[in-house]
């Protein structure tokens, strides 16, 4: 079986790097985008099984990006990921398939990804 492909979207380079290394270790294939526009471009040309989307980003934030993604690919699974739980109550975040608060401990992130992918 082919490895699931995950697109990590975050404006912080080191977060991207951390997530890439941690998730590759779990056997995922990782694509990277540093903002919402880049992410949309990538999604138009490539197929990803899951998008891990940071919320606080300059330009187009995660919530807006989420809406755009759902516009072009209604069934694209997305997990929102932010520094804290401020958007948990936001209606638009309900459209996402998961919500993770960033932590040095990446176990919650990995578990949520596996849940969404049905692994």
């Amino acid at each position: 079986m082919k490895n699931p492909r995950i697109l990590v979207v975050d404006d912080e380079e080191n977060i991207r790097l951390l997530f890439k290394e941690e998730l590759e270790e779990e056997g995922f294939e990782i694509g990277l985008a540093s903002n919402g526009f880049e992410a949309l471009d990538k999604l138009k040309t490539e197929r990803f099984d899951l998008v891990v989307l940071d919320i606080k980003m300059p330009g187009m934030d995660g919530i807006q990006t989420l809406n755009e993604i759902k516009n072009i690919k209604k069934d694209q699974p997305v997990i929102l990921c932010s520094a804290y739980g401020e958007f948990k109550q936001d209606f638009s975040s309900w459209v996402s398939d998961g919500y993770v608060v960033k932590s040095a401990d990446t176990r919650e992130l990995k578990q949520t990804i596996k849940n969404v992918l049905g692994l």
Binding site: L18, K102, T106
Partner: protein, 578 residues
């Protein structure tokens, strides 16, 4: 002395600087001498419009007897001279059998020496001032010339009395006006009601030359400590009279003197110019003003103008009291307003501080995740020797600590919507207490509960409320170092006329340093080595979200009482009634 010289002498005396009484006495001395009349006595009208014997020549033997009695106009010889305004002359032989007021038991045997009597009205064309009585031992007749002269003389003396009257009444009037203007000044200056009433009593007493002035308030009015304000000393002998007058004037709603409440004792009591007026405002008797005159001569007697003055003063006082009442209400309202404003500012401060904190926390969170995340990878990937492993685990521990602090901060600034439900505060408290006291560190803490068993359930977020209770109880626990008493009370109360419930939690932990008291609700304020200083800030925010507030009563050195106020009814009540 020839008649013209005599008249001149009398007029001279009347213009002298002597006191009124001594001027009249001097005049009577001269008349008695010149007319060879052993007695020269003047009757004038007293405040009851009765003729009473007020002045006499120095040698008069009858004065001390006569001045005990008074007579009405028309009564006896004196009374009828006053009524008819024409003089009467008698000798011992032809004096009528009904002498009226001239003959009293005490006079028995004292009149036989006198051979002639003259009774002369002291009157001008328009007004009667009294009666002059002359009694002579060494004269057999009064000649017509003397009679004519005496008529002129009595007219003159009447005129003198009249001008005294005018001077006295204008003096009185001036002092009244001065009193009222003094009162006006005091009433418009915004001093506190206590001072106001004391000053009023003082001003009235000084300007009316009163022995004492006492203002009694009938209502528990203006939250004053005292209900009676007195200037001077109330003689114990009149204390009962004062009480009686106060009661009567409040009942009759008008100024009263002793005559109104004790008609039988009147003869005695009238000597006290003691009177009382109700202080009325909007048909409600606020209290009474009672004045006791000092010296008969100069003081106020409650005649018609006296009554008018007292009523005017009482009205002044009532409007003054109304004013202060309004002022106190205004002050209360202003205070409430500024309290509300303070709270609003506090809220605003919290909000902007919250935003700032959220931003900072967010900025810190990402680097922290990166540091911690890679440290973890390091720890996993390389098989490190013991020292380096120790360092990495220190980094990881600190990252975990920082993260949990950040989470707490973010929790605080995050707007958590209320999940309101009807819940029983007493039950919430018991649940929290059960939870806390199951820990052994609570073993030596004595918990005293006085719950209101009829406390109505209120609409609130019980999870959040429990968080507040835990924060406050934990603070007490920490302040008491695990040993002491926590007293918990619940009750129904009101705040700004709306129903509230109050939960008070008191400890014996030594209280808060007064220097810190204003800071304890500020986020991050802590005096504890490992405290975040968010416990009370979060609690305050939660209670404010519930439209309630927290009060602190601090007794430095003893302990603190935190009182949580929560609205007992939500705003739906109005519709429910409809």
């Amino acid at each position: 002395m020839n008649p013209v010289d005599l008249l001149g002498k009398i007029i001279e005396i009347s213009h002298s600087n002597l006191e009124l009484a001594s001027r009249i006495t001097s005049i009577l001395n001269i008349i008695s001498q010149d007319m060879r009349s052993e007695e020269a006595i003047i009757y004038t009208f007293d405040k009851d419009k009765r003729l009473s014997c007020r002045y006499a020549n120095q040698r008069s033997a009858l004065f001390n007897i006569l001045n005990k009695y008074r007579c009405h106009i028309g009564e006896g010889i004196v009374g009828s001279v006053a009524q008819k305004r024409s003089p009467l002359f008698y000798t011992m032989r032809d004096i009528p059998p009904r002498f009226g007021c001239l003959f009293y038991p005490e006079l028995d045997g004292k009149l036989e020496n006198y051979k002639v009597f003259a009774f002369l009205p002291l009157a001008d064309d328009s007004y009667l001032y009294g009666v002059l009585v002359l009694c002579a031992v060494n004269r057999d007749v009064i000649h017509d010339a003397d009679k004519i002269f005496l008529s002129i003389l009595s007219r003159e003396v009447g005129g003198i009395l009249r001008s005294y009257d005018l001077i006295l009444s204008s003096k009185k009037r001036i002092s009244e006006l001065a009193t009222l203007s003094e009162l006006g000044k005091v009433l418009t200056s915004n001093i506190d009601p206590q001072e106001l009433l004391k000053n009023i009593a003082l001003i009235i007493a000084k300007s009316l030359n009163a022995a004492f002035v006492t203002i009694k308030l009938g209502y528990a009015f203006l939250k004053l400590d005292a209900q009676r304000f007195t200037y001077g000393i109330i003689d114990p002998s009149v204390q009962d009279h004062v009480a009686e007058l106060e009661e009567t004037s409040a009942r009759l709603l008008r100024a009263v003197s002793m005559r109104d409440c004790a008609p039988d004792e009147y003869e005695d009591a009238f000597k006290l110019s003691l009177f009382s007026a109700p202080i009325v405002s909007k048909n409600r008797v606020l209290g009474t003003l009672t004045i006791c005159g000092d010296k008969m001569e100069q003081t106020y007697a409650l005649g018609e103008d006296g009554q008018y003055l007292i009523n005017t003063i009482a009205n002044y006082i009532s409007s003054g009291l109304e004013n202060t009442l309004l002022n106190t209400r205004l002050r209360d309202a202003v205070r409430e307003l500024s309290d509300a404003q303070k709270r609003l500012i506090e809220q605003e401060k919290f909000r902007s501080l919250g935003e700032m904190t959220a931003n900072i926390a967010h900025e810190i969170k990402n680097p922290l995740v990166i540091i911690g995340g890679f440290a973890k990878r390091l720890a996993r990937q390389i098989d490190l020797d013991r020292t380096e492993n120790k360092y990495i685990s220190i980094i990881l521990n600190e990252v975990t600590r920082l993260e949990s602090i950040l989470n707490e901060v973010l929790n605080y600034v995050k707007e958590t919507p209320l999940v309101a439900e009807m819940c029983s505060i007493n039950d919430c408290l018991d649940e929290v207490l059960y939870l806390l006291t199951s820990d052994s560190s609570w073993e030596e803490i004595n918990i005293a509960k006085t719950y209101d068993p009829r406390l109505p359930p209120i609409s609130c977020d019980s999870q959040q409320l429990k968080q507040v209770l835990i924060n406050i109880l934990m603070n007490s626990h920490e302040a008491m170092h695990g040993r002491g008493t926590i007293t918990i009370q619940t009750k129904q109360t009101t705040y700004e006329n709306r129903p509230f419930i109050a939960i008070s939690i008191a400890d014996t932990g030594g209280g808060i340093d007064p220097a810190n008291i204003d800071n304890v609700f500020n986020p991050f304020f802590t005096t504890k080595e490992r405290g975040t200083g968010l416990g009370l800030a979060i609690s305050n925010k939660i209670i404010m979200n519930h439209k309630g507030h927290i009060d602190v009563e601090n007794i430095a050195g003893k302990g603190v009482t935190f009182i949580i106020y929560l609205p007992a009814k939500n705003h739906i009540t109005k519709e429910e009634f409809l």
